[in-house]
Amino acid sequence: MAGEDAVLDMLEAEAVHILREVAGAFRRPVLLYSIGKDSSVLLHLALKAFAPGRMPFPVVHVDTGWKFREMIAFRDATAERLGLDLRVHTSPEEATPFTHGAHEYTRIKKTLTLRKALDDGGFEAAIGGARRDEERSRAKERIFSLREPGHRWEPRSQRPEFWWQANTELAEGQTMRVFPLSNWTELDVWRYIRREDIPVVPLYFSAPRPVVERNGSLIMVDDDRYPLEPGERPVERPVRFRTLGCYPLTSAVESKAENIDEIIDEMGRDRRSERAGRLIDGEGGTSMESKKSEGYF
């Protein structure tokens, strides 16, 4: 459809503009790569934005140690294929979703590790793949989102974003998070992946996978660290993922969609939101807002 292409062109131009602004305005920017579909699109856009030159920033991945194995394999293959300056950060602290609870585990393994990675690298701007349509509080997010010293997100001190003019100036201790995909929807992301033929982790496509059902969520048992209840046994079911994160915290959906066309088709019928499958968000209406205040992406 002509309309669809025109929308993608506009979104692409906007994202490229933002990426170039980051590269031009900040001394040490970094791209945060989470291996998911949004990150894959972001990476693709960052490569396009600076062609025929090279992408002028490194890529950071915060590895919690509980990502799906296929994600890690995909990450390493992608870094290899594209010749990325990939830096993987892991927390030395012991924490699992089972011993610490989802929230505390995420804070230690993800939020704090990310903060440390940014501080150690001296990065003043971190580019992420978050979209405004993901969650209510994100709909209020800026494209250039200011973080106070200690990476605190203060909804009240966010700068007004007039036109397409970004204020990229930073006072002592402040940093910036930048979201070039702010105005993209989940559907746009898939349509763009289709149009540009962007590789994504195979977990997005349906296949028989070993899952257990917990509190109504389908959890894929990706390795033998997952504590099974007595008598509980993973069963093979045709499932796929709409978002990817830590496997014990990411629920699968039953689906037959084995390729992008079928995914897009399914999205027209599935009336659940994407993040419904992320167990860490399901802690009340505004939990994302409070996580973000601590420096979560």
Binding site: A6, V7, L45, A51, G53, F162, T286, E289
Partner: protein, 611 residues
């Protein structure tokens, strides 16, 4: 067809913007089941929505504070796909007057303003304010929705009266408004025509957004490419940015605005590097030139001025500002101006007036407060190439940023240039600073001594100058006391007066540095921003900020001019360190102990000057 439509939802507080936008989102399939469940089971402060029904406003009001207060505070961005395939990006603005700046943000990129009017309350002051801001921000069309018709018994006469009133109000701001009756609460006439409105045969809101087209596109005009980034690869140098105006094609003439350098567009590459034979406005491109021209981030590549419709550089502009900071705008203050990838110091040289947005009148003003709109004159040292805002939202807009907090303090819309850069382009003389320095065998510099009255600045300046003079160096001391007796005798000691005092002294120092002299400034200069503006006049390394740090008690004890005694007696309200604050430098090049010996201070300063 316009593929992407940007809409701002505005109007007075509680008129039903968020409810209407939430409805529209749900009607176009943009709300998921879990979001709808949430909006069905959650209630917020003061809600009147029936139990078990969906509160559609909750689909957009996502902040904790918004739930507590039951109002919208910040702009939400929502995306809808209309059945026609058109994408609509809605910015749901807050209605409350306190958050007017957020509403202005939402309007700044909008093509259409969906303006709500509560049928039970009518056109209110805030309705007019939002209309005025839409007009100011250049939103081309208004679709007014007279909402809550359920609450007035679907009464046609109520609608007709209000429709007339809104049309007249819009007309007053030079805009045309279509008016639609609706009930956001019940969904009438939002996406589908309502049987309860048999007397209305116009479009639904969805219908109006589907049918909207811009009123005649602008004829081909000069193009602009503000350079964001220079892309280099083997044997490749391209200038990346987003096209404004135009279109532009390979083979077009190009000039670097303000520099006089010209060339021809060689190639235009789209994202990814594919060659384009034409780039329309909004296209992200990389441009290469036929000649080897020095171009950097912040430069503006454009149609040459000689061809017409090219940018004309200027160093002073008349600008309409929306003030967005708590701290008011001060006349004479220096700020950072951001436009087209450039950041440079700019001074507000005059506040002309403040706009009464509701009544349309203009008042004389000396300052602007949060959410105020007014006209000012902005002056920069380096010429800037800005277009009138009415011609381009991209190259006619700017931000003002506080030099210290880096907060965005204002959004500016260029009215027109006041002083063409060309007429004041400095004439280059053959005998220049370099030549004069060579003759004197020295490097010209400014040593700026700042500190409390009585800190010992003049004594140290005197000792230092004697020392330098003895070494055969050419010097001059600008002493605050002396300057105020002549050049600056018209100025007072208010923050504005002090800002201007510092500005003039800095300009004189600049002339003296150009003359090849080592300049010692001895000036209280209590405010950081004023000193930062002074520093910004000089190339890096030519300006040393030196803090003469003397304890306040010691200054008061010395009191060489009897100032502290007068202040004690209440006769000097603005004395620094007494009635007015002194802001010590955060990163001085040197701190000298004003309580110590002037000779030691001079030693340290000589070391700093490397003499």
């Amino acid at each position: 067809m316009v593929a992407v439509l940007r809409v701002v939802a505005c109007g007075s507080v509680d008129d039903g913007k968020s409810t209407l936008i939430g409805r529209l989102l749900a009607a176009t399939g943009g709300a998921t089941d879990d979001q709808l469940d949430y909006a069905r089971t959650t209630r917020r402060g003061g809600s009147t929505v029936a139990a078990g029904a969906v509160d559609y406003s909750l689909l957009t009001d996502g902040l904790e504070a918004e739930h507590e207060q039951g109002i919208t505070i910040d702009v939400a961005h929502l995306f809808m796909d209309l059945p026609s395939g058109r994408r609509v990006i809605v910015a749901d603005a807050p209605g409350h007057e306190q958050y007017t700046r957020n509403m202005a943000v939402a309007a700044s990129t909008a093509d259409v303003s969906v303006l709500l009017v509560d049928a039970t309350k009518g056109v209110r002051e805030q309705t007019r304010r939002h209309l005025a801001i839409c007009a100011l921000m250049g939103v081309p069309s208004v679709v007014a929705v007279v909402n809550k018709l359920d609450a007035v018994g679907w009464d046609r006469s109520v609608f007709d009266d209000l429709a007339g009133e809104v049309r007249a109000a819009a007309d007053g701001f030079g805009m045309r408004a279509d008016v639609i009756p609706a009930s956001a609460l019940d969904g009438d006439n939002v996406a589908a025509p309502s049987p309860r409105l048999p007397w209305y045969d116009g479009p639904t809101l969805l219908g109006a957004l589907t049918a909207w087209e811009p009123a005649g596109s602008r004829a081909e005009a000069g193009y602009r490419l503000p350079v964001q980034y220079v892309i280099r690869a083997d044997g490749f140098r391209g200038f990346a940015g987003t096209v404004v105006g135009g279109p532009v094609r390979p083979g077009d003439a190009v000039a670097v605005a303000g520099g006089g350098r010209t060339s021809t567009v060689d190639r235009l590459l789209g994202p990814g590097g594919a060659d384009l034979d034409r780039a329309a406005p909004g296209t992200a491109v990389t441009m290469t030139l036929a000649d080897d021209v020095d171009v950097r981030r912040g430069d503006l590549l454009a149609t040459p001025e000689a061809i017409g419709d090219g940018p004309a550089p200027a160093t002073a502009y008349s600008v309409t500002l929306i003030w967005t900071a708590e701290e008011p705008l001060r006349n004479g203050r220096s700020y950072l101006l951001r436009a087209g990838g450039r950041t440079l110091p700019a001074v507000v040289t005059a506040v002309r007036d403040r706009l009464d947005v509701v009544g349309g009148g203009k008042y004389a003003a000396r300052a602007l407060d949060l959410n105020d709109i007014g006209t000012v004159e902005l002056t920069t040292d380096t010429p800037l190439s800005l277009d009138p805002y009415r011609e381009s939202r991209h190259t006619g807009s700017l931000l003002l940023v506080d030099r210290v907090t880096k907060e965005t303090v204002a959004a500016g819309m260029v009215r027109h240039a006041l002083r063409r850069g060309r007429t004041v382009t400095p004439r280059a003389y053959t005998v220049d600073r370099e030549a004069r320095q060579r003759l004197k065998g020295q490097r010209a510099k400014v040593v700026w001594l700042t500190g409390l009255p009585g800190a010992g600045k003049s004594t140290i300046a005197n000792t230092l100058e004697r020392r330098l003079h003895g070494m055969g160096l050419h010097t001059y001391v600008l002493d605050g006391e002396n300057v105020r007796g002549g050049l600056n005798k018209d100025l007072g000691f208010t923050p504005q007066g002090r800002a201007e005092n510092v500005r003039r002294v800095a300009e004189v120092a600049r002339i003296l540095v150009d003359a090849g002299l080592i300049v010692v400034v001895a000036l209280v200069s209590p405010f950081r921003t004023d000193r930062a503006a002074a520093k910004a006049l000089f190339p890096g390394g030519d300006f040393a900020e030196v803090w003469v740090d003397t304890p306040a008690e010691e200054c008061a004890r010395r009191d060489p001019k009897g100032l502290y005694a007068q202040a004690e007696a209440g006769r000097l309200p603005n004395l620094t360190g007494h009635g007015q604050a002194y802001e010590p430098p955060e990163h001085p090049d040197l701190v000298v102990d004003g309580a110590g010996s002037p000779d030691e201070a001079a030693d340290a300063l000589c070391a700093l000057l490397r003499v």
